[in-house]
Symmetry: C2
Subunit: 401 residues, 2 copies
């Protein structure tokens, strides 16, 4: 293909993160450097904006504003959860043609990569000439081909910090505390709660993942043991925990699905309340509480990992470099170099390799009892999350008469 000349279009899709705008801003700034890119447009609310002809001119934005946007949580262009149907693809290309879009970038998770893949395949079919790239983003950290994904480190930092605080709270007023953490099929974010444990008696004392069957009897036995030992028990539970048949525990209580067929797991306290009730009833423990960390995990301002913000910036910039280079399509993936020192490199991988299917926590990250992480996970996650706040504790010298 000869060098394509035309306009660039960028959009955001799926659940926002606190660093998703880093990728948006870096792509805009990089886009400006390439002569073959004439205008830089943003589509509002993902592909919905292309369908509705709702585009904005991003070249007109001031650099000082863009720099602030990069540090602001949420999707600055708006987001969407929408899988394009064949007839919608045709409408999209019709509108892309109108706006002379030749470079398309879609920032999102695996569903968004699938959208990019569908568009790319349909473009070949109908003969629409454009370059189509996916820029990774997901707090779930569940994209294939990636060591980790932009958005994960910051959300993991929020979870670790929240758990540090909640451990101190639970230590102050002992009881059983259950914290529900995001992650549909992948336990990476829930696992990050382990970084909060500094001293031997610190929580979380138990962690449950969506990758392993959640057996209520085993859970109660675990809680009972910890409670007997420490007089309290702090538990991190993934919102996606499922029974032995693979049915999400929470799906017994809610039935809402999006157009990708995903059940609503977030934005409800049902799972935490259910587990708290069971613990209260079966173990006869009076103080049992549940919190669902909810959307704060992906949106809380100023709590972000510096490594994550830097990498989120990098993948946006690289996508534009690949697109204006020799590549036709693909998804930017983050790989980690082997060795003690944390170091990453980037690769362009085919869209279909990242689209739709996700990856979960590997077995080597989950302990034998499936109720805590392994040392390997801690090593994996620590550099992504950054240095955590220092905690002061009293030595508590006992007074004897």
């Amino acid at each position: 293909m000869a060098k394509l000349k035309g306009n660039m279009l960028i959009a955001q899709s799926g659940g926002p993160t606190v660093v998703i705008n880093q990728s948006l801003v870096s792509a805009i700034i990089e886009g400006k450097k390439h002569k073959e890119i004439t205008n830089i447009y943003g589509s509002l609310f993902g592909i919905k904006g292309i369908l509705d002809g709702n585009l904005v001119d991003l070249k007109k934005e001031k650099i000082s504003d863009l720099k602030k946007v990069a540090q602001t949580p949420g999707a600055a262009l708006g987001s969407v959860r929408k899988k394009p149907q064949d007839e919608e693809c045709e409408m999209i290309f019709k509108n892309m043609q109108k706006y002379n879009i030749r470079y398309f970038f879609y920032i999102g998770g695996n569903d968004s990569a699938e959208t990019a893949y569908i568009l790319n395949e349909n473009a070949k079919r109908v003969g629409y000439e454009f370059k189509c790239f996916h820029i990774p983003k997901t707090i779930d950290n569940d994209l294939k081909e990636n060591d980790h994904t932009p958005g994960y480190g910051s959300a993991a930092r929020f979870v670790a910090m929240a758990m540090i605080g909640d451990n101190l709270d639970n230590k102050s007023l002992p009881g059983v505390k259950i914290d529900i953490i995001m992650g549909r099929h992948a336990g990476f974010l829930t696992a990050a709660s382990s970084l909060a444990k500094i001293y031997e008696d610190d929580g979380p004392h138990l962690i449950y993942f969506p990758e392993k069957p959640f057996v209520i009897e085993r859970f109660l036995k675990d809680v009972d043991e910890v409670y007997k030992k420490y007089g309290r028990c702090l538990i991190a539970v993934s919102e996606g925990i499922s029974d032995e048949k693979g049915e999400p525990i929470v799906s017994k209580f809610t039935k809402e699905v999006d157009s990708y067929g995903n059940v609503q797991l977030s934005g409800t306290g049902a799972l935490g309340d259910l587990l708290a009730d069971i613990v209260k009833r079966e173990l006869k423990i009076s103080r049992v509480r549940a919190d669902t960390f909810g959307y704060l995990q992906r949106s809380f301002p100023e709590i972000y990992s510096e490594v994550d913000a830097k990498e989120a910036y990098k993948v946006g910039e690289l996508a534009v470099k690949y697109a204006t280079g020799k590549y036709e399509s693909g998804s930017v993936a983050i790989k980690r170099e082997r060795g003690k020192k944390y170091n990453v490199y980037y690769e362009l991988v085919p869209l279909e390799k990242v689209a739709k299917e996700t990856r979960g926590m590997p077995d080597e990250f989950i302990n034998e009892n499936a109720n805590w992480v392994t040392e390997k996970f801690i090593e994996y996650a620590k550099p992504l999350v950054g240095k955590l706040p220092e905690i002061g504790v009293l030595k508590k010298y006992k007074v004897s008469l």
Copy 2:
């Protein structure tokens, strides 16, 4: 009374905050300066530690450790929710006598002030000679005699920041979002969510307080109006909202009470889920989510207001100064000077004036429709919370063909 000579005892009670240890540490440091105070002991888990003879020697703690503890959330000595019975008071004085406790400081909210008051009255009755002080602490901001209370500013900062993030998230993926915020009888913390509103279309769009009856029909009408205007609606709801008869909406779902007779409001997602279901059903809006901010509001590390931390330190120090001065008992209260510039002064008030009864938001802080705050509240809360993070937004220059 001649100058009492003996040991000092300090304890923490009620829900912890992120600055409660500031008061503990300042009281220890101040205590060391006074010759009439021989040893400085801490009681573990509030008055429970005195009953159990579970005291620690705080004079032995290193200053460098204490400084770290001051900045650490949670109650470093452990906390309790316990109202002493008459026979327990006698046991407490018996143990106090054993340890020669002549200066007693109890850090906590109104229930803790009541405990201090009960102890003080019983001491007079049985002739136990000690000085008894309450050091204020509560994220609810509901202590009488105080302009505001230590712990509030930091929790309010967390709420405002969480709401800034959640507004950006809700703007990205529009829908109705309900956030449940702590505050049993007082709406101050829920009201702090208003500080997140920067631009005209920002949320929270609606705020509901426990001080005004929550009428479901009015609530639905409010949500419907906002949703029609902005295509989304972000709502802050106090966990303590009650119906016209004064019955908490959530108490229809939970019946747990503590020894002060308080119903459990926190540590459950029930209220948010209930309201989300009603909105979904009655307004036929498909994307309705609820989060309960939960214990993170009072425990999240590194999110604190500098003003709040400073004042929490000050009240601990002052309590010891008052006690070693001419005063017999009392509660340290924070008062605000009139005038444009934020300035506070401190006063010692009688224990009974702070004990048991609480104060709610004054009418002048709540708007006429009882669904938002007034400008007066914003002026009141801003200096307590400190400067909030700057938010970047795109100008969104429309592309037209």
